[in-house]
């Protein structure tokens, strides 16, 4: 909690042993945890003292008949000790909570920041649901580890030690005979809880199966109805549901065996201790007061130990969560600021590719090979080619989403890898085919990329340029309309224009457009095209092209196939050349001709 947002580096806390890792994770909060433990220790002492006071009360006050004088002191003593005990219990609870919540808060913030700074390669292979799960439930399990489990285990051990020490002071022999069952209880709990935790996992697994079955049934409700398979679905669900009942019952049998057995062990130990104590009083070896103090203290030794077993199992789930979270923390971040060349002005936009090649880090061969290209500032380059030909991989190199693996790429004469990523991302704008908008207002979405206050006039200006202003005004809340699940659903074309406005506001020198308008009608298509052309003015632009119209305005057309530039030139040049471009062009023409012919024939 004292840590500044995102400044602490938890990567340094990782360790091969999970217990060590958890210990280090508590760094900065260990003092709090120490005092929490100390508080509990002293509170336990106060409780033990309460029973000693009972003994004293009986032996000295009651039996020696100076009652009038002694009684008020004893009564006050009880209350005083309760105050000490209660106050310390509360304080250490508070300290432990502060530590656990602080650790959890730091971990959450760290993970949030870490995740948005991990590389594209990482996110490409990671599953969103799993990452969210780890950042929420697993972090909560770690919080519980510090708040409840570790603290409770510490409390039980301290209580045990303190009370045992006091008992030994009362009578060493009696004390030791009173804890003979403890190792037995601990071993038995350990053995039992290994099984119980397995049974519990099996039960939880079935719970997951069951809710997956339900979810699937709901998602496929049309299919179920269309094939009238309700009966089939019912019996399928019933099988899983019954299996869960069965596993639940198995788990319960374990539980219902474990508790009474440990109750019997603990209970017999109590009786044994009490009998022993009683005989010792009768033999005159200890006083009746000592016996009564003993009878009180023994409860606080035997019963907490009984609970230790369960705690051990719960802790193992905390360890599991820690491993999963540590897996994320271990990943290397993408350094945003690293780079030897930091110009203070915008780049010109002159790009030179010299034999650039690229392969994804997970292996699988070269996606781009031997790319040679010189782009002058302000030029428009169109990329054309089949799916998987490397168009997207090529443009992803420019903002350094991925780093090229061979060759050399120069921006304004300087190697691209020398530029800090942040600088490049400020000056390279991207409009994706299916842009992602956040569930905030349209205004916030447009202003999303600039780290400053933006005036409404500025926002309106870019929205007008992106041909989306009128649409926005038609919503009841205008620019303050929420986008997404809780607000309006924008069509593909509308989203794209909001994204164009967002990019316009950023005013990047280099522009990447994934130009697909296949999901919009002709009118919108024209609107988007105009907006895009306005956006490209005076910027070095790359268009991933799908249509002839987009190619026409390009200064240079590159045809990619299998990660190589197989053809380059203007439209006129390429049509004249034998190759993929002409094939594509021919296919298009063929369809056009076919259409003409068909229309003529009717």
């Amino acid at each position: 909690m004292t840590a500044e947002l995102g400044t602490s580096d938890l990567q340094g806390t990782l360790a091969t042993r999970r217990s060590v890792g958890l210990w280090r994770l508590a760094g900065g909060f260990r003092r709090l945890l120490f005092f929490a433990a100390l508080g509990i220790g002293v509170a336990s002492l106060a409780r033990a003292a309460t029973y000693l006071l009972v003994g004293h009360f009986v032996d000295v006050v009651l039996l020696r008949e100076d009652l009038r004088r002694g009684l008020p002191w004893v009564a006050a003593g009880f209350i005083g000790l309760a105050l000490v005990q209660g106050g310390l219990t509360y304080l250490s609870g508070r300290l432990a909570a502060r530590a656990a919540e602080g650790i959890a808060k730091r971990l959450r913030e760290y993970l949030f920041d870490h995740l948005q700074r991990l590389s594209f390669a990482y996110h490409a292979q990671a599953r969103t649901g799993e990452l969210v799960q780890r950042s929420t439930s697993d972090v909560d399990a770690i919080r519980r580890f510090f708040a409840d489990q570790a603290t409770n285990a510490g409390r039980i051990l301290l209580m045990f030690l303190v009370n045992l020490a006091v008992l030994i002071r009362l009578d060493a022999q009696l004390a030791l005979l009173s804890v003979v069952v403890v190792p037995v209880t601990v071993t038995m709990s350990y053995l039992f809880f290994r099984r119980i935790s397995q049974a519990y996992e099996a039960y939880q697994e079935q719970e997951a199966v069951l809710s997956a079955a339900l979810q699937e049934n709901l998602a496929g409700v049309r299919v179920v109805k269309a094939f009238a398979r309700q009966e089939f679905e019912r019996s399928k669900f019933d099988t899983e549901n019954w299996e869960k009942f069965r596993r639940g019952r198995r788990l319960l049998i374990m539980h219902s065996l474990h508790w009474p057995i440990s109750d019997i062990l603990s209970g017999l130990q109590m009786v044994f201790g009490l009998t022993l104590g009683a005989l010792m009083v009768m033999d005159g070896r200890i006083s009746i007061g000592t016996y009564l103090a003993y009878a009180g203290l023994i409860i606080w030794i035997i019963w907490p130990i009984r609970n230790l077993g369960r705690l051990v199992v719960e802790m193992s789930s905390g360890f599991g969560s820690y491993s999963r979270v540590a897996d994320i923390i271990r990943e290397e971040r993408e350094p945003l600021e690293e780079g030897s060349y930091r110009p203070s002005t915008s780049p010109e936009g002159d790009l030179v590719f010299k034999g650039v090649g690229f392969a994804y880090p997970d292996g699988g061969g070269e996606v781009l090979e031997d790319i040679h290209l010189h782009v002058l500032p302000g030029q428009v380059i169109a990329l054309l080619g089949p799916t998987g030909s490397g168009k997207t991989s090529l443009v992803n190199l420019l903002p350094r989403f991925y780093d090229y693996t061979s060759g050399s790429l120069l921006l304004d004469g300087v190697e691209l890898k020398a530029y800090p990523r942040r600088y490049l991302r400020q000056h390279v704008g991207i409009v994706e085919q299916e842009p992602f908008l956040f569930s905030r207002t349209i205004r916030d979405n447009i202003a999303y990329g600039v780290g400053r206050e933006v005036s409404p006039t500025e926002i309106e200006a870019v929205a007008r340029a992106a041909a989306i202003h009128e649409v926005i005004l038609s919503f009841p809340d205008g620019y303050d309309t929420l986008v997404g699940e809780r607000g309006v659903t924008l069509s593909g074309g509308q989203k794209q224009r909001v994204a164009i406005a967002r990019t316009l506001l950023m005013d990047p020198q280099i522009l990447i457009l994934d130009d697909s308008t296949s999901s919009v009608d002709t009118e919108t298509e024209a609107l988007i095209r105009t907006a895009l052309e306005r956006l490209m003015e005076g910027r070095t632009s790359f268009i991933i092209a799908h249509r002839v119209q987009s190619l026409m305005i390009a200064d240079l057309i590159l045809v990619l196939q299998g990660g190589r530039i197989v053809q380059r030139g203007s439209h006129a040049h390429l049509v004249a050349e034998d190759g993929l471009y002409r094939q594509i062009h021919a296919a298009q023409t063929r369809i056009e001709v076919e259409l003409e012919r068909e229309l003529a024939s009717v």
Partner: protein, 606 residues
């Protein structure tokens, strides 16, 4: 996360006795278990109090009387009762636990069965997440209260009651002094639990927001990186974790404060016992063992009270959960078999829409006075812009919905006179976003006809052009498709769902953009199979590919819920109307697809 109107409504405004009674009613079929565990828990808690009493007698009659025989007797009794109590503990854990599992099982079974009956309109307006949490977490909470909750309460009541009885037996005056502390402890317990639970509720809300933020941040990570928004995002996220920290910390320290406060109250009672008990002792009205017993009773009394307070605070939630469960159970399916609904044996006949009106939302009608006569065996292509009402027409035909006005006739009958099963079992539907169930490819295809032989399945997959790609897969027909078919491509899923429909051998065939994600080559191959299949069946095709549309017997162009143009392909082109424009535009669009597939490394649907 959840849609409008489906926010987690936490509380029913007033405590509903009716809901509570209905909730209790869930235990009725298993009343033996319920009675069994309530009786054993009563026994166990009475024994707890008895142990303290026996400890007293060990002191008074054994030690102080120096009577070894009495000591032995009491110790033997103690030991014997430990075994009896252990049997009781075994019994109540087992009975209560199994009862809980059984209630969960029953509730989920009932809910799931009921869900199968509900109409599609219900699923349109109810988010899946809402339904899932009704069936899972709400039933959990109800079962939890009916078993462990009741157990804690009866344990608490019994424990307190027997403790009070034993105290009264030992010394009546002193017992009454102690009892004055009892209401104080109860009040403190209830107040604390109320506040702690309120904080937990708040925490749950923050947590769902936090989860949403994480999910969005990960889904939108490309944009964040491209725009360099990391720092700003972290700052905003910090507000959320800050709120969570405060709420969580408050809940924690409230919990930590509770026990000391109650202990303090009981310390005063303890002081009172020492004082008054001491005086009584000297006067001979109180024994040493008696004082010790009082001390124990007071110390142990706060645990049952704490548990009861927790259960009562939790009860409101459980009742709210039960209310939601029952509301799902009580929601009526809108489309059901009318009285006297029958199965005509076939639905092959003319299909007639007569002046049909339909809307999902009254403000925006989808179909207005829609009439269409389809002859038996005809193939109809429905075309038109998105949202024109094409899918609505086939959904009405499948009786997923019923017309708000007008009638639909199948053969000679108003189709609402037929049973739902009569229609659904003879209908084959293939949808644009096909849904597969997790399991093998074979199991998914057999969904169309549960007992189909391997030969029948293969005949269907060959018609759907799915056979070859299935054989190429690792485990062939036994290949697992994953949840929702996630391990297959959309194109592959479409082919499998086509095969599934083919296997069902339907009389009426509906294809809603069924092959939109299949590559051109495969599409051409399927085309022949499909055409053979449609022969002799009435078919409705919502198509996106020109080839499919062109071959239909009749093309119906839908615009704003009305038929704008109708006729054969040639007729409509000649008219140079909407269809002509739509058609030429479609043609252009096809260029995109051609460019994307030309020269691509593999033309397979994968």
């Amino acid at each position: 996360m959840s849609d409008f109107g489906f926010e987690e409504e936490e509380f029913s405004t007033s405590f509903s006795g009716k809901t509570f009674r209905r909730m209790l009613g869930q235990t009725r079929p298993h009343w033996r278990r319920l009675v069994g565990f309530l009786v054993t828990i009563a026994l166990v808690s009475a024994l707890d109090s008895a142990f303290t009493y026996i400890s007293k007698e060990i002191v008074d009659q054994g030690i102080l009387a120096n009577d070894r025989a009495a000591l032995r007797d009491w110790v033997q009794l103690y030991a014997g009762l430990i075994f009896i109590q252990a049997i009781g503990v075994f019994t109540f854990i087992y009975l209560a636990g199994v009862l809980g599992e059984r209630i969960r099982y029953d509730l989920r079974r009932t809910l799931f069965s009921h869900l199968q009956k509900l109409s599609l309109s219900y699923f349109d307006r109810t988010p899946v997440g809402w339904i899932i949490s009704r069936v899972t977490s709400d039933t959990d909470r109800v079962a939890e209260l009916l078993t462990w909750g009741m157990l804690d309460v009866s344990w608490g009541i019994m424990n307190t009651a027997t403790a009070v009885i034993f105290m009264l037996i030992i010394n009546r005056r002193m017992a009454l002094i102690v009892l004055t502390a009892l209401p104080l402890i109860v009040i403190a317990a209830v107040q604390f639990q109320k506040r702690i639970l309120a904080e937990f509720r708040n925490l749950r809300k923050i947590n769902s927001k936090l989860t949403g933020t994480f999910a969005e941040s990960i889904a939108g990570v490309r944009v964040t990186k491209a725009l360099g928004r990391e720092q700003q995002n972290l700052l905003e996220f910090g507000e959320l974790t800050g709120a969570m920290y405060r709420s969580s910390f408050r809940a924690a320290w409230l919990s930590a404060l509770f026990l000391p406060v109650v202990q303090l109250i009981s310390a005063f009672a303890l002081g009172g016992v020492a004082w008054y008990g001491g005086i009584q002792f000297q006067l001979g009205g109180m024994t040493l063992g008696g004082i010790q017993a009082f001390v124990s009773y007071i110390t142990l009394m706060l645990f049952p009270i704490q548990e009861m307070a927790r259960v009562f605070a939790e009860m409101q939630h459980a009742v709210a959960s039960a209310e939601r469960v029952f509301s799902l159970m009580d929601s009526l399916p809108e489309i059901v078999d009318r009285p006297g609904a029958f199965d005509p044996g076939t639905i092959l006949g003319d299909i007639v829409f007569e002046h049909v009106d339909f809307w999902y939302d009254e403000q925006s009608p989808v179909l207005k006075d829609f009439s269409l006569h389809v002859r038996r065996g005809e193939t109809i292509a429905l075309v038109g812009p998105t949202g024109a009402g094409k899918s609505t027409i086939v959904n009405l035909l499948a009786r997923f919905y019923e017309p708000k006005a007008g009638t639909i006739r199948i053969g000679d009958h108003d189709y609402t006179d037929l049973s739902l099963k009569a229609i659904h079992s003879r209908l084959g539907m293939v949808l644009q976003t096909p849904h597969l169930f997790s399991g093998s490819i074979l199991a998914n295809i057999r969904y169309g006809q549960l007992g189909a032989t391997q030969e029948q399945v293969e005949r269907a997959t060959k018609i759907a052009s799915a056979h070859d790609f299935i054989l190429e897969m690792k485990d062939g027909y036994e290949t697992e498709v994953g949840e929702g078919g996630g391990l297959l491509s959309v194109g592959q899923k479409q082919l499998i769902s086509l095969a599934r429909a083919v296997l069902a051998d339907p009389e009426v065939f509906i294809m809603d953009e069924a092959t939109s994600s299949v590559d051109t080559l495969t599409e051409a191959r399927i085309q022949r199979g499909i055409e053979a299949l449609m022969d002799g069946r009435t078919s409705f095709v919502i198509a996106h590919r020109l080839s499919t549309i062109r071959r239909a017997d009749r093309i119906v162009l839908i615009q704003n819920g009305r038929i704008a143009e109708m006729g054969s392909h040639a007729e409509l082109l000649r008219a140079r109307g909407h269809y002509y424009r739509l058609y030429t535009q479609q043609f252009r669009r096809q260029l995109d697809a051609e460019v994307e597939t030309l020269g691509a490394p593999s033309p397979a649907p994968a």
